[in-house]
Symmetry: C2
Subunit: 413 residues, 2 copies
């Protein structure tokens, strides 16, 4: 990934993790900043929340929560309204409900996918306010996407309310292991993408760039099938396969932000030559081309869906192809389960449909290969957020600065 | 690993990470606790430190550091003495030097190794105060080690000063994937080890248990070749191979504490049947038995050392055996480099000598298989702490509670 997303705070607003101060010395300002961030993160993730519930969830006293909510409201980040009277409400003074100002505070979320470029405005709280896309011509270099993406962002600008607050931007890039020549290495251009977008759209908030697997995994962790799960391997299939790895509630980035290149874990030393120069990489066995090859077809994503449909209809060659790929999918998952000991493995992107078609085969291979103590507790699940996961995750990344330091970020926005 | 070592604080006292409070709400007591912990951790890791340097390193003001040091001294955890006059010292009032009370404050560090049981008293600051060992009979079940280890601890008790403070204990266990019957699964008995030791030695501090690779990796991270490095894969070879994985300065434990079972990552689907039930696991290619097999020998650790000596002397069969194992060692390392993107891979335990003997072969395989962006920046190094790494790491684990909350832990100790 380009700008490494440092393994910083937990992204779920649950009371396990904390934004980390830059130095060990914690003073009054730091506490206030942490508590404002925790309160804003809570309503961002969980939606409108009464002051009473915030008091309980954050373990702070009532007057502190009141002051924090008032500060966040004054900064234009949340609203406070009296709870609608319901039969369920207990007697006593109604607690004010704190809601994220989704229509006012927003992030720019962009994605460079294999076949299209997308741009969205996503409001605090995760609401998609606007979403545009244009096709991506086959083989279009990553940096050539800057101008059309900037165009989409400018188009969206026309309908942005005058008092709106843009807090940042992020872009998710598919297949960061492919460079512009189609070779497999980590595309150096991705490193420059955030800066190039920022320059193109200046003045305005900056952009960070990241790998689709990391960013879509973040989305599933905050709002999808991995919500509340601290140890997750999120597999994203595209032309290749990569992983967003979350351990202890934090995204693993690796030393230079390149962790999770699981598609180039070698599983079959006697297998096919891979574009990366190695042989028998996992993606040579479970990528789109592997499925097509075993089904005796050529083509692209549409061809893959055809094979999956044929397999569902009982066509023997297609069924065998799905079985073969699902078996190798389980093989790599078993390795990752032994190395990472996740609670949950999520299958996203193009791997979602392959997993759904061959879930039993995948599970059997994991059960045959992973150590009992690790495999017995691991859940395998299809991704929940579909093709919007990348945009939702990019928004989470873009909101990070605001959630770490709400008042300063709001003042600077 | 038995008691999962949660990916909590950074263990180096560097100003990157912080002990995490249990709830997002941070109050005055919490700040004081964090700052006391940061100051004590700093002198524990870095040794005697002047107040002036602590002020700079922790980013706190002079009076705060003075108060923290006084509190730690009053609790009997550190001493404060005037700096010895040196030519190098700048003019002005001499800064008091804060030193950990290594002779008074100590942890019990134990290890269950393949061939011996060891027990040490290790003082704050990492000084080994006492160290005893007895042989471990071949195949001795883990829980049968409780009584002899407790005996060693009791023996050491005779020379403990009357005012000493024992703050906790930890035990590192080799080959936690082997159960008492010699089968490969995660030995359930390890889960009960900490409690059994605590019960045997009650009343006294409790014990946590962990995998040797994690614990020796922690030692290398705090005081060894991985000091100051945030993304580390520490490989530990014994009968099998496992890894302690550190990302973003935190030990990865996985969902149930079983991460790093890299010896059961399958690298050779056509390889040998492994004791875990799978085939071609990494440890079937790089474990002690693989080297002996390729050298046409049988035996144990002594046999391995003989093969390495013969290879160093130019004996062709031994050289070929080392080459073969080093090549497969690089193969698995390349996979881990692609998955984790570490800054550093450390070879410890029995793998240390194999790595030293075949470092060039290992590096060439990594360069042939790992993606350029990840392999270009990865360092490969032999472990620095030798066979004391497990005890030093166990002490770090045992000190964790004290370093997280110095005054309460000191009062309870």
């Amino acid at each position: 990934m380009a700008t490494p997303v440092r393994s910083g705070p937990s992204h779920t607003g649950r009371p396990v993790e904390q934004p980390l101060p830059a130095t060990p010395g914690a003073g009054q300002d730091e506490i206030r900043r942490q508590n404002l961030g925790a309160a804003l993160r809570y309503v961002h993730v969980h939606g409108p929340t009464s002051r009473a519930e915030l008091t309980t969830r954050l373990g702070l006293n009532r007057s502190t929560i009141g002051a924090l909510a008032a500060d966040l409201a004054a900064a234009g980040l949340v609203t406070e309204e009296a709870e609608a009277p319901t039969a369920a409400r207990r007697a006593g003074r109604p607690s004010l409900v704190v809601s994220p100002r989704s229509g006012r505070v927003y992030a720019h979320a962009l994605s460079i996918e294999t076949d299209r470029l997308r741009a969205a405005r996503i409001g605090l709280g995760g609401r998609i306010l606007d979403l545009r896309e244009v096709p991506r011509p086959p083989g279009m270099p990553v940096l050539d996407a800057v101008a059309p993406l900037a165009g989409l962002v400018r188009d969206m600008g026309a309908s942005v309310p005058a008092d709106a607050l843009a807090v940042g931007g992020a872009v998710a890039v598919a297949d960061t292991t492919r460079d512009d020549a189609g070779g497999i290495r980590i595309g150096a251009d991705v490193d420059h993408l955030g800066a190039a977008l920022g320059a193109e759209l200046a003045p305005g908030p900056g952009f960070v760039a990241g790998d689709m697997a990391d960013i879509a995994g973040l989305a599933e962790h905050v709002r999808g099938v991995a919500a509340g799960v601290d140890d997750v391997v999120h597999l994203h299939g595209d032309l290749g396969v990569s992983a967003g790895i979350i351990t202890g509630g934090r995204l693993v980035t690796g030393h230079r932000g390149h962790s999770g290149k699981v598609g180039h874990m070698v599983v079959n030393p006697d297998g096919l030559r891979c574009g990366c120069g190695s042989r028998g990489c996992w993606e040579t066995e479970v990528g789109q081309n592997a499925l097509l090859r075993h089904a005796g077809r050529t083509g692209d994503r549409a061809g893959v869906l055809e094979v999956l449909r044929a397999a569902a209809g009982g066509e023997p060659t297609a069924r065998a192809a799905v079985h073969h790929v699902a078996d190798w999918l389980g093989f790599g998952v078993a390795n990752l389960v032994n190395v990472i000991n996740p609670d949950l493995v999520v299958f996203g992107g193009a791997l979602r449909e392959v997993y759904v078609a061959g879930a039993g085969v995948v599970r059997r291979r994991v059960d045959a290969m992973a150590l009992p103590a690790s495999r017995e507790h691991v859940h395998l699940r299809a991704a929940a957020l579909g093709r919007n996961a990348a945009l939702i995750g990019a928004a989470e990344l873009a909101f990070e600065q605001l959630l770490a330091d709400p008042l300063n970020a709001a003042a600077a926005g």
